[in-house]
Symmetry: C2
Subunit: 274 residues, 2 copies
């Protein structure tokens, strides 16, 4: 069975819109975009679109792609000081001549609605996840919520490659009292762990790594990434065979962006209310 | 087989002493102690003893137990500004009327030789563990090094209760490419995971939780905590039965403090050299 995250995403957007409509002033999300590559422009357009949909003000500052790191840091510092700007994001990826971490770490933690700052990430790790959550781990947790999945007593297997996703998602799962195994490309036998997992989260860019015969009946598969080879999309999980059996699986890509951006809007509204 | 960490600890101290003897000026470790409870005084005495042994200068500031949080924060702020103080620790536990986190988070990350500050903890999580490591996870990693245990391809099971230990140790193990399962009191069946673990790390204050029949042959057990009931010490692992079989196990308590403090001296020397 495919988990319909289009429905989940639209549900969230409608709820946000309903809440915003009751507010006296609209929440405002500022975004800094260095106009350089098609990925960052594509992402920002999604954010613009869904901010409009939920009646959140969206103010975009476009910077020339030749801007250097110091100039960008100066603008971030101005944003930190500006009392009219409550929360903002710097759209990634940045051009290669700019160090992304230096920029992200100079955003004031209180204004960092993406929740990327070390201090904010650390809050998740010390169980303080009552505040905000970064968007990718947030939508994964949101799917569990939408599907009424209680994580206590559950075995979860996280097969990861990137550093960005496993850390907060592992921490959030552990905070929710799940038993979590973190597998990687040097794991002796991944099947040992997937076979007994109630939930498998996979994010490795390996076409069809996860197959139906590696899974336990009735397990739930969250497939976070996909690979494009010769214009064809390959998921980390072999969606067709898994979907035809006892499992619930998220389709990728489809509405993944809508769901990720929904979490950003949710963070914006949450910040506004605090 | 018992892992002889007295030997491991003494080895480390002798190496540190040899290195310090070659330096032109001695590294100096400052410590702030609020003179209140016997635990913190006992800990600080260990640090004094081993600093003396390794020829590291140890300067202790003793504060009255009635000091309030603001007064202590003022002293921390003075320590941060003082150019003669390169690294220092605030001895835990602090009296109950003082918020430990507020104090630890106000120590300048560059002077925080215990490596407790959020920014420093975060560095471990992003794989930047070339700098310092907090003392408890550090000695665990040190045992693997002393025993020539390569963590790649290994299955490690961490059974934890406290928030302080599992986070950095899980991160360090994952950084070293181990496959790590984090179990807790809500895990359906811990034996499922311990049975296939090459290494089990246990820190839950549950007398004899881990028994020989829950383990795989030749596995290594790191037992971090112990419980005292009626003046008798109970380990988390049933040391006697496990020791009589195919496993390697760390004895607790014995030299655990010596090993922990050895890591603090190692951090001090490492900071000095940077």
């Amino acid at each position: 069975m495919i988990i319909d995250w289009k429905e989940i995403a639209l549900n969230i957007y409608d709820k946000i819109k309903a809440k915003v409509s009751l507010l006296e002033t609209k929440p405002c999300l500022w975004a800094i975009l260095v106009w350089s590559n098609s990925a960052s422009i594509r992402y920002i357009k999604q954010k613009q679109k869904w901010a409009d949909y939920t009646w959140i003000d969206f103010k975009l500052i476009k910077l020339d792609e030749n801007i250097n790191e110091n100039e960008l840091l100066k603008i971030v510092s101005d944003f930190n000081k500006d009392k009219n700007i409550s929360w903002y994001i710097v759209q990634l990826p940045l051009p290669k001549h700019i160090n992304e971490n230096s920029v992200l770490n100079s955003i004031l933690p209180e204004k960092d609605v993406d929740w990327f700052h070390p201090i904010n990430q650390w809050k998740i790790l010390i169980w303080d996840d009552t505040w905000l959550i970064p968007c990718t781990p947030a939508w994964i947790m949101n799917i569990f919520e939408s599907e009424y999945i209680d994580l206590v007593w559950k075995n979860v297997c996280v097969i990861w490659r990137s550093n960005i996703v496993w850390k907060p998602i592992t921490a959030l799962l552990i905070n929710a009292w799940a038993t979590v195994t973190s597998c990687n490309s040097k794991t002796k036998d991944i099947t040992e762990f997937t076979k007994k997992a109630d939930i498998v989260i996979v994010a490795v860019w390996k076409p069809w790594l996860l197959k139906e015969n590696m899974l336990k009946k009735w397990s739930i598969i969250i497939d976070v990434w996909f690979t494009v080879i010769d214009n064809e999309i390959f998921w980390d999980a072999e969606t067709d065979s898994i979907n035809n059996s006892w499992h619930k699986i998220t389709p990728v890509p489809g509405w993944v962006w809508a769901l990720t951006v929904a979490m950003l809007m949710k963070n914006t509204l949450k910040s506004y209310k605090k």
